[in-house]
Amino acid sequence: MKNILEVFLGILTAMGGFVEIGELVFTVNAGVKFGYKLLWMVAVGTVGIIVFGEMSGRIAAVSSQPVFYFIRQRAGYGAGLLTIIAANLASLLTCAAEIGGIAILLKLLFGGNYILLAFLTLVFLLLIVWFLSFQAIERIFGLLGLMMLVFVAAAFWLGPDWTAMASGFIPTIPQLETTSDYFVYAYFAVALLSSIMLPYETYFYASGGIEDGWNPSSINQNRMIVMVGFSLGALLAVALMIIGALYFAPLLIEPQLPGTAAEAPAFLFGKWGLIIALLGMFFAFSGAAIENALTGAYNISQFFGWNWGKYRVPKDAPRFHFAWMIMFVLAALIIFTGVDPVEVVEYSIVFSIVILPLTYLPMLLAARDTDYMGPYANGWLAGILGWAYFILICIAALAAIPLLIITHGGKG
């Protein structure tokens, strides 16, 4: 039973990568613009995050050391410091976007002033993380985030062409009208890969494994958790893309607001479909906000060698607990300026892309080190996949920012 419950760590981690506010809007738009043609990139990204997620969990289980310990150890203090600055900026901006997204959802559910709702969201998140244990957080937000499955039901209800959908999983360069369309396609492909493989997912996942008391006997459980959690995230991403292709594209709507995505379940299942979709998004965004605030605190504490962990009372890890509170407060302050949460995520991706290679290389080096990992070092499959994905993310990291600029953020 405990093993089954631990799967919620994987689900909660995946929520932060696949269905946070920016990713939700972005994935629906990928479906609007290119139909099923980018489904293969969801598959490629999902296998990639499973590979590195499993690696980070395995390292944590064997050594009880989190990702940032290895980044500092393998890359050195200077490169590690730069990585932590970029990583925490990305987490801060993503956390801000989620707080803004939650305030928007509360407004859609209950009405009221946006800034006041953002303040209430801040209080809600602070209280949740202060009073609930790590296990309670992963189970509550992982479980209730499953209300997002209403989007899977909606995608199924729309009656996709299964043959066309299956062909979407085969990597291809489609026939498009203009050169500009090819750049937009490339931008969406690269951004999808980068956003699915966001580094903070591995920071959070490995730290979560240590919070859950993993040891070498947890390695099989770790594999099961990453496969179930990230596959579920991928299923949601595929569903959102189908909804974009079959519901929004014919209506000539390119969603820019989180509430727009909920209009599809409302059309198919009425008011209850709408409410379940909004609640699912509420728990998914809340999970992503908590994931990013805790990730920021984990990173700083692990890098500087402070005591860390939700399982430690504030008296035993004061700087760690202060750090996640500061993350929430700074994130809320960004939202109080009135900035658009979806735009904030676009900026956070810039920082995330830069640190993709800086995060995954030290992890790859540590996971293959037999002196360190003993019999649990990377086998041939993990080794080949790890290096192949490392090359792929380096290419994505180089291409992402020029494509962002050329395509006006993917608009054309």
Partner: protein, 147 residues
């Protein structure tokens, strides 16, 4: 200089260069005069808002949304329309697309009024949907012409 400190400075310069160039490119693109492509993208956004407004109204009339959702979503779309309108009004454009810009401003003003009506008069809901659809079609024609 040790090898580690050399690595640090190479990494620092690369990171700073990437972030600063991305920020500079975004800032320059926001401050520079609207090109034909920029104008077409603004029009595409407005078309999408108009179509969503029409669909949202139909869904609300069919009882598929709550009143709070309808009001809040319409208000958020209106804010987006007003932001586009402000950008269209305040941006400099090249002389050859000045006529298109004026037409886009006019359609954006009509769109903003329609969304204002949605939030103030429930009686006009049945006529608002078709009006938003018509505006969406006009914007679509303009967008296609500018491709």
């Amino acid at each position: 200089m040790t090898k580690r400190s050399q690595h640090f400075w190479i990494d620092a310069v690369l990171l700073a260069f990437t972030v600063v160039s991305a920020a500079a490119a975004i800032t320059v693109s926001k401050l520079s005069p609207l090109t034909k492509d920029d104008l077409r993208l603004e029009i595409a956004d407005l078309r999408s808002f108009a179509q969503e407004g029409a669909q949202l109204t139909n869904q609300h009339l069919a009882g598929q949304t709550t009143q709070t959702f309808f009001d809040s979503q319409a208000e958020q779309i209106k804010d987006k329309v007003d932001s586009s309108l402000k950008s269209l009004r305040n941006s400099e454009v090249k002389p050859e697309i000045e006529t298109d810009r004026r037409r886009a401003v006019n359609l954006a003003e009509q769109l903003s009024c329609e969304f204002h009506r949605l939030s103030t008069s429930q009686l006009e809901l049945e006529t608002s949907g078709p009006r938003l659809k018509t505006l969406g079609n006009q914007l679509r024609e303009m967008e296609e012409r500018m491709k």
